[in-house]
């Protein structure tokens, strides 16, 4: 009751009125903006709405993960762009994390040379604009590799040239289904084993090698089924035909260069997060662990990492988000990400507002997903009072 009464004080009322007024002005402005835009677009005979997405695009896309031809629609073309953006982001996040952690650990290494090299790496890559790094990696990729006729073959069936990296493509036969099921069963089995190992450890203190046992199940079971089914997979090899290789699995130079650039760049930032995370752990704790006779690995896993992660994760969430946004620089080196494809669609239809809205929607969704996952991870590593 007291609350409700105080709610209607004079000050509060004035505040509310003011906020309403501001809101009103904003709405009025937006409304004016919208109607004016509409009128101007009409005056120039530019359509609005998303109808154009169902028209035939006619535009080629060189790197598409799903089958695509210029006879497909603008909507589908844009979807290819989204898939490419997501693909680049996922691979980029995984690999830049691996490299970043390595760099970060190297920076706090007691080996002078190792830590110095890591420092130079960070300083150089962090301070060069990513766009330049991309031009550099693309130039290197193209210059370092030979023409198709003189391809390098590091392993039989693998070809490296300035049109891409050609790998044998596995073609699955029906028997593969059984293998997939075995893999699934293996994963579930491993989880059960891990759970049991933990329970036994918690109850009795006995250490069961759950991880190794689980691994045996995950790998062993599908492998056994695979051979029992008579290895139901054939390899389609790339062959040189005319100017280029045909068939097989190809990784285009634009993709390789983009990945290299993005990973090298982002890893520098992640490396710094890892370093500051590790350095945030009180050295006294490490000394104490050593005094207790814990092994290096155990100290890292049980003492340092759990605390360091609390510093590392929030900062790295930002770097992941930047990575996703930075992937739009792909456009400069001919990789058809969502921004590149969308830009071409704008150029052909002048429906910039629609495409921009789509870009924003996709980037926002991806980045919200990332922060959702990272926040969950973060909550897992917070100190839990017992």
């Amino acid at each position: 009751m007291k609350k409700a009464a105080s709610f209607l004080t004079k000050d509060n009322f004035k505040n509310m009125a003011l906020q309403m007024a501001v809101l009103g002005v904003i709405f009025y402005g937006c409304h004016g903006l919208l109607t004016n835009t509409q009128a101007n677009l009409e005056a120039r005979n530019i359509a609005s709405g998303f109808g154009f997405l169902s028209l035939e695009s006619g535009m080629p896309i060189s790197n598409s993960l799903l089958p695509y031809t210029p006879a497909d629609t603008y909507g589908y073309a844009f979807f290819m762009g989204i898939i490419n953006t997501v693909f680049v982001s996922v691979i980029g996040i995984i690999l830049s994390t691996v490299l970043g952690v390595t760099i970060g650990v190297a920076r706090v290494s007691s080996n002078w040379l190792v830590s110095k090299l890591a420092e130079i790496y960070v300083e150089v890559l962090r301070n060069i604009p990513l766009l330049l790094t991309l031009f550099f990696t693309y130039t290197i990729v193209l210059a370092a590799l030979p023409v198709p006729r003189k391809s390098l073959t590091p392993l039989a069936g693998i070809f490296l040239n300035n049109r891409g990296i050609y790998l044998p493509r596995p073609v699955f036969e029906p028997g593969m289904i059984a293998v997939m099921i075995a893999l699934l069963v293996g994963i579930i089995g491993a989880m059960v084993i891990l759970g049991m190992a933990k329970r036994i450890h918690d109850n009795t203190g006995r250490v069961i090698p759950g991880a190794s046992l689980g691994l045996v199940v995950v790998v062993g079971l599908p492998l056994a089924v695979f051979f029992m089914a008579g290895a139901p997979v054939t390899m389609e090899h790339a062959v040189l035909k005319g100017f280029n290789f045909r068939g097989g699995l190809v990784i285009r130079p634009e993709f390789s260069a983009l990945m290299m650039g993005i990973i090298l760049y982002t890893a520098a930032f992640i490396g710094e997060n890892v370093r500051s995370g590790i350095q945030s752990v009180d050295p006294g704790q490490i000394n104490a662990s050593k005094a207790l006779g814990l092994s290096q690995g155990l100290i890292m896993r049980r003492i340092v990492l759990p605390q360091a992660l609390r510093v590392i994760i929030p900062a790295t969430t930002n770097d992941y988000a930047s990575l996703v946004k930075n992937s739009s620089l792909a456009v400069a080196i001919g990789y058809p990400d969502m921004v590149s494809v969308g830009g071409t669609i704008i150029g052909q239809n002048d429906q910039a507002i629609e495409i921009i809205a789509m870009w924003m929607g996709v980037y926002m969704t991806i980045n919200l997903l990332i922060s959702f996952v990272m926040n969950w991870l973060n909550s897992r590593v917070q100190l839990i009072g017992r």
């Binding site: 903006l33 004016n36 835009t37 009128a39 101007n40 677009l41 009409e42 005056a43 120039r44 005979n45 530019i46 359509a47 006619g58 535009m59 080629p60 896309i61 060189s62 031809t69 210029p70 006879a71 990513l130 766009l131 130039t139 193209l142 210059a143 023409v147 300035n162 049109r163 035909k241 005319g242 100017f243 280029n244 045909r246 130079p253 634009e254 946004k325 930075n326 739009s328 620089l329 456009v331 400069a332 080196i333 001919g334 058809p336 921004v339 590149s340 830009g343 071409t344 704008i346 150029g347 052909q348 239809n349 002048d350 910039a352 507002i353 921009i356 870009w359 924003m360 980037y363």
Partner: protein, 339 residues
Amino acid sequence: MYLKKIVVFLCVSFLALGSTGLASTLEDVKARGVLNCGISEGVPGFSIPDSSGRWVGFDVDMARAVAAAVLKDGEKIKFVSLASKQKIVAVSSGQVDLTSRTTTWTLKRDAKQGVDFTTIVFYDGQGFMIPKSMGVTSAKDLDGASVCVTAGTTSELNVADFARANNIKFEIVVFDGKKEALNAYASGRCDVFTTDISQLASLRSTLAKPQDHLILPEVLSKEPLSPLVRHGDNQWKDIVTWVINGLIAAEEHGITKANVLEIKATSKNPVVQRMLGKSGDTGSYLGLDKDWMVRAIQTVGNYGEIYQRHFGPDTRLNIPRGINNLWTKGGQHYALPIR
């Protein structure tokens, strides 16, 4: 980075907001005292800055003629370099008053994309450039080849059409900028570089060893190149159309940069007198003064002179006039009557 793009596009859309649909480009340009003109990112012959940073070229001269007619000074132009992808949006949004930049007149651009084309300044067609060492002599033998092309062009679409129509497969690698596309071709990423044939000749001259590259005989498409203006301002469209048409008419009548004043003073031909503002009132119909055409010709010369200056035998490009000659000499240029 995508943020920057979004901001740019938002600005462009706000520009569209700022100018109401009915504003007169002519009044805007006169009040500003400067013509904003979209131009390429640098294609020798068509438009490229010279050693002192001044834009020169065939497309540049077309724009200077318009500035001379409207603002009485061919130098009162601000050139805005546009990538292929931006060239239409920049006009429809009002960022530039005019784009004079190797742009093909197509139905969709004209009718759907908020721009109007004016008049054809160059009849072009798309072609393929390949390294001579490839040993190929026809485009039909290019099955399986990698093709580098610039985004947002008709070239990008035509090459995909060509592959579909001839049932051959290309790996088409699309770059945002022409420079990056050409670099990729030069470094061996692609077997083929494709764009309008005249531009192939021009861009080939910028490669390290031009003689090592071959332009294949096939013409994939028709590329009628025309300057473009915003849709919906008929007066402004008329001005650009008739100034350029006047340059072609001047060639038909033998009026040149050097003799235009003399001809104006002495010619007894009523057609010429009307064109040069000695009689009649053609300028006022366009919202200009009597001397609009005299100034345009004084500034850049007639169509033939412009062509010779940038593509003629004395230039590095040496593109034969062919279809771009006057209709009386076996070409396509046919000036409309100025009366």
